[in-house]
Structure formats: structure tokens, C-alpha cells
Subunit: 355 residues, 2 copies
């Protein structure tokens, strides 16, 4: 399993304009692929030209949603070197998702090795322009070519990559968020902590409604009591309540974000009191009334830090940080992106050089 | 959109042995396919040789679980004619699933027309042996070739078909069911009523645990209070409690089964009192102690009626119908399969001939 076969792309594509990168549209010249079956386990690791998959129309992932994925980035520093940000955290999370979805575990060290190899081959695809990066999508799909609602007997693990633009084209910008009251994304006992298709499928409807009303994301409430804050579409959330920074505890229904973890570690190192705990909408409303809820932001790989300028719950609008970028949001954004793009020291050892 | 282009399979496969049909493994010579995009809507309807799909590794269904499906059967009657059972119910349900998953609606009449055409082309694949049938799998997948957790801008609708054996090789047989206490399949506000990958992905883990312990399926409880009965893996459930037949009401978290609907209609026509209502495990335990809970069965396209001989909740074993086939289960099974395989009159007009 230590060998990665390489088939070079003999017809490399023209790279897209770095100043007009649309998220998730332009893929690099190569992808990593390996297969699993009961006899051989994971086998046939290979880097091949990026291109379509041939899948049986009956295959498990197309019917029963047995699929997991990750999202991470490679960044180019001012010296032109390429760095990853906490990549092992992603592969560990992938395995936790795999466990929940009855997908065989992947050798995390080997996955990292494969990723490094792939990035080296497509290194010219890591964009140079300020704020851009290479988005990396490892994913696993059940590929047994037969119907039946049981775990697949065959799988594919792939890594595909695409250069992406700055999330905030015009600089960091506050977003409006809407507390979702009708739809539920995930529930205790479900698979909310896993990065798997079904969780995103369940969210589409609410996201569409929110977008129509001019909101960028919905804030999910817990599925049981529908009063405790969970997370937004693709971000974890933080609230500044007086001298406490609160983020919902990980209780199985939300994704354990790697940016979330980094924010907690950073804030703690700066001397902030960070609480991972239950937080109800009512508590937020109370705090807002008292002038004690002053700042909110989301954390995720895509946007890094996303300041929230407006939070709507039913017909109550909570305006935060004067609708501007909160102080803590800005500081966290600067520090995290500074570390990621190699402009600041990395005291935590979070980054990993792609040799 | 009224034209279906036909590309005949010039290399038809050998048909599998009708006495050894494994569910979901052998597909017929053709499949139906059509595509959707924003400009053209549903277009390019075609029947083509059954074969692999070429999908972008970035396509929506492989990452974000935007996929819906149906399951139905075609039956051969003693005169060799082929019949469908309530097929429009399936296409209507597919559209309800599509609506929840932000997938464009399909013209139900057209889908039926396409299915009839497809069955006619592969009519020799509808098996003749007692208890066998042709399983039909319509499904829709999001196929936009780019990443991003939003509704796909492209879709494929397909119908694939496979001959399947009798569900109970040795005749109707009681199964053992286990009340699931840890995992949750779906919750109010979620997508439990839709036939979509994520619901099945969420179930895999519990099914695996149950299978290891010798149970054939788990019985799901509601995700909020974890005390009300929902359904089992791929069946709705019915309980005979004194002179009342109870089945969980449709409140958004369980699949509205077409067999369930037919059972309710049949039972009512026979003069039974059928209640669609909330039913707690505690009520079941109470009724069992009093000798008032005498029979339980599942209903679904695959098994039609599945008598339950043993229901386990925590460490309490409820033995039902003496571990044999309950009286009502047998009567419903005989009547429903009689109608489906054209051996009994069809007073409800449920069957539809494939001309
Ligand atoms: C549902 C959800 N929550 C939170 C996050 C943030 O996680 P991370 O910081 O690891 O990107 C993401 C995105 O990855 C997500 O999809
Ligand atoms: C979750 C679930 N519940 C119930 C059913 C039964 O529905 P039907 O009777 O329409 O087959 C099925 C199978 O189709 C199912 O997958």
C-alpha cells in the first residue's frame, strides 16, 4: 500500500484567470484515487488525470447516500512556498465520518502522503494572487454496483483540487443570518457530526428560503427542543457575550470544525474565556436586550472568519457590531489568515510545508 | 418532451437463473435516462443500453447527497401478462421527495409512459417463477460538475430494473425486530418522509449492530422524545392492539409507504378499525403485559407483509403471535400478493396492465 502509481496528464489544461476564480469549478490536472473491496482492503492507489468516474447506475452512493468528504486548503506564502493547515485534523475527521457511515477506515498517514504527492504534481495550480488558495476535496463513496440498503462492499477514495478565489472579493464583510425555525439539519443520535452528503441535502431547502429573503445562511437550532444554537450551513458559530466567548458544545449534531478548534485555541492563548456549552436563542435575546451580546462570527475553511452583522430570529432583528466587522472577528481573521498564508509566525505548529 | 429516443442494446445479456435471483444484482438490458438543466428543463429522454454513468468526480450527488429514489415492482400474472401496482403513487412520492430535496419536479404521466415503454422493451426480463417480480428503481441525482453546498444546476432522472426472487424463499416467515435506542434516523423538520439517500445512510450503523445481534431490522423511535414508534428500515409497521390496528401517523419523519396505504384501505374495507396515530413504546409494553398486543407486521414493496415474531425493547422481549405468522399478517399477505400477481380480483383498481 505504500506505492502510488502515477499516470501523468499529457494534455494539461489552461489555468483559469486567478482574479476570477469561481469556487469549485476549475479542477487541477490530476486527482488521487484508490479502491476498497473486502478481499484487498484499500488498494490500487494512483494519481491519474482529472476526469469523469465510470459508476454503475446502481452504485450505493447514488441511492443510499453512503458518502463522506473533507474540505481543506493549500496556501502559497510570500516566498512562493506551499503550506497546508492542520491537514491531519481533516483526515482524522474523515475517519470519524467514515466510522459513522460504516465506511472502512483510511490510513491517515498514507492519505496525507498521497495528498502531498498530488499537490507536488499540480503545484502550479496553487494560485499566487492575494487571498487565493487551492481547495482540496478528499471524499469517499460507496461503489458496490447493486441495490440494497446496506453498507457497500466496495468504495472509492478520491482527492480532487481546485484553485479558489478570495472568499470576500472586496475584503472581510459582515453577513446576515436567519435563525431557522421550521427545518432541522441534524439531531442527537443522527449523523450531524459527520461530513456526509445527507446533512447537506437536508439543509438545501432552508438555505434556498434564506437566500430568497436576502440572508446568506441559516443558523440551525437543535432538533429536539428547537431552542439551542447549533451551527450555520458550513461554519461553526461564536458569540461574544460580555467577557465570555461562547460556542455550542460538540454533542454529536454539529460538525467539529477545524477552524472552530483553532479559534478556541487562539482565543484561549490570548487570555479570553471561551465556553463550549449549550446556548439557547432565548439567552441570546436576553443578552442582546441588555447590550451584552455584541459580536457574532462564523468559522470555517471557506471563509476562515465570517463576521455576522445581523441575526434574525422570527421577527426580531439583532444588529451586531453596528453591522460592521467586530473587533474580535477582525483580529481572529488577521491572525488565522496570517498563519495560513505564512505572513505571521506559526506558534502552534499548525502549518505543514509541501516539500 | 413527448418523444423518447430509443437506442437498442445489440448485445443483450444472458438472463440469470430465476430460481436464484439475488436482490438488486442483475439488471435488464436497457435503462431510461433524461437530463435537466436550467435552459432546457427535462430533456433528451431516452432508453439506452444499461451501462455505467460517466459522472464528474465533483458532481453534486457524490458530495451533498442530493438524490431521491423510488422502489416498485412489475408482476407477471398466471396468463403471462405484466402488471404494475399503483405506479402513479410512486411517481407522486418521488415528486414529494424531489420537492424536499430542491430537485425539479418530474412530469408524472411522462415518467409512467417512459416506464411502460422500458418494461415493454425488457419484458422478457419479468420473471415467471412463483413469487418473483421485476424490481423497478426510478431515481434522480444532482449532476452539476462543481463543488458547493447548494442545489445542483443539473440533474439526471433514470429508471433501472432488475428481476428479483421471492422475498421469503421458504414462504412467509416471522422476523425479529429490535427497538433502536441510540441512533436516530430522521426527525420532525428533517427529511424522513422523503426517499433520499441521507435517510438510509443514517440508518446503516444501527442496521449493522442489529444484524450482528441476530435481528433483521431496527424499529426506529422518534428523534425528539425517543418514545414514539416510527418505522423499520424499509417498512412501515402495524400493531394489533385488541380490536384496534394501529400504525404511526405520517408526521413528516417516516416514509408514507404505498403498501402501508394499501393495507389501511384493505383493513378498512374488511371492517377493521385502523388508527393512524402516535404510539409509544410504553403503550406497547403495557398492552403486551395485558395480553392485548398480539400481532405486529411490517409493510413494504420488498416483502409486502413481514410478520414480526419477536420485538425487543432494551432487555424486554415481546413474543408475538407465538413467534408464528399472525392471522392478519397472513390474510393481508395473501390478499395483497393475490392482487399483485393477478390471482385475485382487484376491486380497488390498484393494478395497471403493461400493454
Ligand atoms: C456543517 C459545517 N459546519 C462547520 C464547518 C466548518 O468546519 P471547518 O472549520 O473544519 O472548515 C463546515 C465546513 O467545513 C461545515 O460543512
Ligand atoms: C424507510 C422506508 N419506509 C417504508 C417503506 C415502505 O414503503 P412502500 O410500501 O412504498 O414500499 C420503505 C420502502 O420502500 C422504506 O424505505
Amino acid at each position: 500500500m505504500s506505492e502510488i502509481k502515477i499516470v501523468r496528464n499529457t494534455a494539461p489544461k489552461q489555468k483559469p484567470d486567478e482574479n476570477n476564480l469561481v469556487f469549485g469549478k476549475y479542477f487541477t490536472d490530476h486527482m488521487f484515487e484508490m479502491d476498497w473491496n473486502q478481499q484487498q482492503g484499500w488498494h490500487d492507489a494512483r494519481i491519474v488525470p482529472y476526469g469523469p468516474l465510470e459508476l454503475s447506475p446502481a452504485c450505493t452512493c447514488l441511492h443510499y447516500g453512503q458518502e463522506t468528504f473533507e474540505g481543506m486548503k493549500a496556501y502559497r506564502n510570500p516566498h512562493g512556498e506551499i503550506y497546508l493547515f492542520r491537514p491531519m485534523e481533516n483526515f482524522k475527521r474523515l475517519n470519524r465520518s467514515n466510522e459513522r457511515l460504516c465506511i472502512p477506515q483510511i490510513d491517515e498517514e498514507f492519505a496525507l502522503k498521497a495528498l502531498l504527492e498530488l499537490i507536488k504534481m499540480d503545484k502550479d495550480w496553487v494560485p499566487h494572487t492575494e487571498g487565493t488558495s487551492l481547495y482540496i476535496r478528499p471524499f469517499v463513496i460507496g461503489t458496490e454496483p447493486s441495490l440494497g440498503a446496506h453498507s457497500s462492499s466496495e468504495y472509492k477514495f478520491l482527492i480532487i483540487m481546485c484553485p479558489v478565489g478570495a472568499y470576500y472579493a472586496t475584503g472581510l464583510n459582515p453577513v446576515s443570518i436567519f435563525v431557522e425555525n421550521e427545518y432541522v439539519r441534524a439531531v442527537r443520535g443522527g449523523m450531524g457530526f459527520a461530513k456526509t452528503g445527507g446533512n447537506y441535502a437536508a439543509s438545501l431547502k432552508a438555505q434556498d428560503v434564506a437566500a430568497e429573503e436576502g440572508f446568506s445562511q441559516v443558523l440551525w437550532l437543535d432538533g429536539v427542543e428547537r431552542k439551542y444554537i447549533e451551527e450555520v450551513g458550513a461554519m461553526n458559530v461564536f458569540f461574544v457575550l460580555g467577557d465570555e466567548v461562547v460556542t455550542p458544545a460538540l454533542q454529536g449534531s454539529i460538525l467539529p470544525g477545524i477552524t472552530r478548534k483553532s479559534v478556541i485555541e487562539l482565543l484561549s492563548s490570548w487570555g479570553y474565556k471561551v465556553s463550549e456549552r449549550r446556548l439557547s436563542v432565548d439567552e441570546l435575546l436576553e443578552a442582546y436586550k441588555k447590550g451584552n451580546f455584541t459580536e457574532m462570527f462564523g468559522s470555517g475553511t471557506a471563509a476562515v472568519i465570517s463576521p455576522v452583522g445581523l441575526l434574525r430570529y422570527k421577527d426580531i432583528d439583532m444588529k451586531l457590531s453596528d453591522g460592521k466587522i467586530g473587533e474580535l472577528s477582525q483580529r481572529l481573521y488577521d491572525e488565522l489568515t496570517g498563519i495560513q498564508w505564512g505572513k505571521c509566525p506559526d506558534p502552534f505548529g499548525w502549518t505543514m510545508k509541501v516539500e
